[in-house]
């Protein structure tokens, strides 16, 4: 249905936008092992995005590439968290930490979707996202308890990204129309917080307080980072309408 397609866009856009950011690190990471690890994560996310966009487009006869390359900014559905720039490595890790915890709980719940396709995508994705989560946890611990500088940066990174957590738990009207099919975002809050909490405790990091971004990505209201990101993502495809690659 149109609603299911819309929901698949939410999820697909989150993954694609995050992968686009992570791809930047390849050849720029702090060590070769991280070039590979962040590359793996980006690859997994592109895989999820492709499945989800493929599914989202099927209803309207659009391909994954039609959706990735030919939608304008207001038609994107990514949440602001995924749109936030890489910043330094601690920012990237903070974004991964929040994103992977959210995605893990999301896909864990989505495995029980009455929509067989979404359930199947979730079942595959959850295993990969579990690795992403573990990767981010290891780095949060290392950076928070490594050197004075890394701790300072980790705290800054976490408090810069934390405002974007809230949007992930907002139940838009779409969700009411997808009972049993979609995961209710508000139902994830306790799970995500419970999973992050012991890590933050072990890292001796407090839960950042202060700003909360009001988001709006699911309605097409995006942060200022998305426009330039899409300019780069889409530039070549749009220069050759109708071409295949």
């Amino acid at each position: 249905s149109h609603d299911i397609a819309e929901y698949a866009l939410w999820l697909g856009d989150d993954s694609l936008v995050l992968a686009q950011h992570l791809g930047w690190w390849i050849s720029r990471a702090p060590e070769l092992e991280e070039d590979i690890a962040l590359g793996n994560i980006a690859l997994d996310l592109i895989g999820h995005a492709r499945s989800l966009l493929h599914y989202a487009g099927a209803e309207s006869g659009r391909t994954e590439d039609d959706l990735a390359y030919w939608r304008d900014e207001p038609e994107w559905r990514s949440a602001h968290l995924f749109e936030q720039p890489n910043g330094d490595f601690a920012h990237t890790i903070a974004r991964q930490f929040i994103a992977a915890h959210y995605l893990f709980e999301l896909y864990s719940a989505l495995m029980n979707s009455t929509d067989a396709t979404l359930a199947a995508i979730a079942a595959k994705a959850v295993k990969e996202v579990d690795y992403h989560r573990d990767h981010s946890i290891q780095w949060v611990l290392r950076l928070a308890q490594g050197t004075e500088e890394s701790r300072r940066r980790m705290i800054t990174g976490l408090s810069d990204l934390w405002p974007f957590l809230e949007e992930l738990f907002v139940d838009e009207p779409l969700i009411d129309r997808l009972e049993g099919i979609a995961v209710r975002p508000s139902s994830l809050r306790a799970l995500v917080e419970a999973a992050m909490s012991p890590v933050l405790a072990e890292a001796e990091l407090g839960v950042p307080r202060g700003f909360i971004s009001s988001g709006g990505g699911r309605r097409g209201d995006h942060s200022e980072n998305l426009g330039p990101l899409l300019a780069e993502l889409q530039v070549l495809a749009r220069a050759h309408p109708g071409a295949t690659w």
Binding site: D35, E64, H240, T244
Partner: protein, 309 residues
């Protein structure tokens, strides 16, 4: 000495030398130079392709490209490990690379201004690399040979992907075809230069061949490469930009035009289009990541203390 005799016997029998075996200083130095240079090439080689990850024109191509660049990081890692078995540290090799005192394949000092370059790099650059590397799978030094086996498998996969990119373009719109041909024009000659100077100008080759590191001469490998390219270029429908390229029935091989070795030596000497930027990027990534590596080391040390206590 007895050790030297044993080494020579192993070489004569075309057997493998292993890290624990005695080896002549020259052999060790030659291998360290060659393997680390090869590792650096993988690492620097990530850049011209990394340049298009964010702009890849389809999600499938984006995923394939990302996986490829990531493979190159993996190759770099194997090769650094192989070099480490010869007694050089990864830190030292990294420092040499960043300081500009170590070499890497000069081809990566060319930029990749178009998407078609993702095709040409795969088809021509990886293709040339494979011709160079397949014989290295039998290199006398064990860890190097074994690393090459693994790398060659992936490289031939990469070459096929590059060929496919060009094939899609050549089957595409006029603009895509033009993009492909223009790119092949730019990469063809530098790819031929990857095999190194002509045999009569390649002083170290004889010793490397005697040590069973190198198995074929530069010119032989170049000839083999061109022989492989010509039929593939026909399938693609691209023109190889050498008006003198033609089959020589007598020699049973292709005659080629002259290679511009002046350009080769200019680029090698640091006067190519992208040398400065390639090393700058590597240096910035390394220095910018210093605090992360320090944090990881400090954390590991603290954990080790806790484990003991």
């Amino acid at each position: 000495s007895a050790e030297e005799q044993q080494f020579n016997d192993l070489i004569a029998a075309d057997s493998r030398i292993e890290p624990r075996d005695w080896m002549p200083d020259g052999y060790r130095k030659t291998l360290i130079r060659q393997i680390s240079q090869h590792a650096h090439s993988e690492i620097i080689g990530m850049q011209p392709e990394g340049n298009w990850i964010t702009r890849a024109p389809s999600l499938k191509r984006k995923a394939i490209l990302l996986a490829k660049v990531q493979d190159e990081a993996g190759h770099g890692l194997y090769l650094y490990s192989a070099a480490q078995t010869l007694g050089i540290s990864r830190d030292l090799m990294t420092d040499q690379l960043i300081a500009g005192t170590a070499r890497y394949s000069s081809i990566f000092n060319y930029p990749s201004p178009t998407w078609a370059d993702m095709g040409s790099i795969g088809w021509l650059v990886d293709g040339a690399a494979i011709c160079n590397q397949v014989p290295l799978c039998r290199a006398s030094y064990g860890p190097y040979g074994r690393a090459m086996v693994r790398i060659c498998k992936e490289e031939s996969f990469h070459q096929r992907q590059g060929f496919e990119i060009l094939l899609e373009l050549m089957n595409g719109t006029p603009a895509q075809r033009e993009m492909a041909q223009e790119s092949v024009n730019r990469w063809y000659w530098p790819a031929l230069q990857m095999f190194g100077p002509p045999d009569d100008d390649s002083p170290n080759s004889a010793q490397s061949m005697a040590w069973n590191i190198k198995r074929f001469s530069n010119d032989d490998l170049r000839q083999r490469f061109v022989g492989m390219l010509v039929p593939q270029a026909e399938v693609l429908g691209v023109t190889l930009p050498d008006p003198d390229l033609r089959w020589n029935e007598e020699r049973g091989a292709y005659d080629m035009g002259d290679i511009d070795w002046t350009e080769f030596h200019e680029v090698l000497a640091g006067r190519g289009p992208a040398n400065a930027r390639r090393l700058q990027r590597r240096r910035d990534a390394h220095n910018g990541g210093q605090w992360v590596r320090e944090a990881a080391a400090a954390y590991a040390a603290k954990q080790a203390v806790k484990a003991v206590a």
